[in-house]
Symmetry: C2
Subunit: 176 residues, 2 copies
């Protein structure tokens, strides 16, 4: 199912992909796809190996005081990416973004729709999307530097050190 979904999302785009079509391509009943995936969004997240579950991000942003946004965000992303599975997904995400324009476009649309738009609405303010995309740029850059480029000392810095340094920067992007 995931392979069929990946092929359809990459070949036809998000809008033209349906859960029914994926079931057909995978040779299974549509009910089975619905059994494993609540929605097309969820199928997309799993099939495209988005580097984090958007629902986790939204919950993190919404749940807690506004002046601790930076700490909460960098903590949730680092916690996911420090796990072996999360790190594999992050690496796969970065590899597919840089290797194919088509996949980059799909990832861009997915991240926008599932993460940037809802988080920007939660943050509020006229330039919220710019602020949130700057936060995304720092998180992606940290992941690339730590997990793929493995540049020292960022590659082997303990997680609390990174949280301490990066949280104020994310906070500044979001609320200054």
């Amino acid at each position: 199912m995931l392979a069929a979904a990946r092929e359809s999302f990459a070949g036809n785009g998000f809008a033209a992909t349906s859960m029914r079509g994926v079931a057909r391509a995978a040779g299974v009943d549509a009910a089975l796809v619905h059994h494993y995936f609540d929605s097309k969004d969820e199928l997309f997240v799993e099939a495209m190996a988005l580097p984090i579950d958007p629902r986790q991000v939204a919950a993190t942003v919404l749940d807690g005081p506004r002046d601790e946004l930076g700490v909460r965000i960098v903590t949730v992303f680092l916690t996911v990416w420090e796990s072996p599975d999360g790190q594999q997904r992050m690496k796969a995400f970065l590899r597919s973004v840089v290797s194919s324009d088509q996949v980059a476009q799909l990832m861009r649309d997915g991240i926008s729709r599932l993460i940037l738009v809802p988080v920007s609405e939660a943050i509020g303010g006229e330039d919220a999307r710019l602020r949130v995309s700057l936060v995304a740029s720092q998180l992606i850059g940290m992941a690339l530097t730590r997990y793929l480029l493995e540049l020292e000392p960022i590659a082997s810095a303990p997680m609390p050190t990174l949280v301490e340094r990066i949280a104020p920067v994310l906070q500044q992007y979001l609320t200054d």
Copy 2:
């Protein structure tokens, strides 16, 4: 010469590559290599398409008031990457980092030796290398988000907007 140098750097590493060896592999006289490239460092920068000339970075960091470091750094990187040639080099750099562990290691060593170490020495302080590597992570993330992922609104933000937002963050990493 560049192809021979790339092959030697990637296959044998930096230390085991010599200008004489590259000349031999390229079938030219060593004097010709020395004519085009002042040093092995310069040959490395050109052959590996480092995303910026390290001498430009060092000059930027050293030349001007300490409390304007963030503005100077983000301005010099964006100016290089906004040019078509600079942007191609940045994209090639990101593609090679994520596609091969061997190339990633070579890039990591090159960036450490040619950029991180001298810039950290210019900044000073016991955790200067961590600070400078955090700056690198934000610059790399901005490049990936703007030029490869093309995530909006960061992808089409005017350069002065990005300088205004990112400069204080780099300043905070370096001197707070």
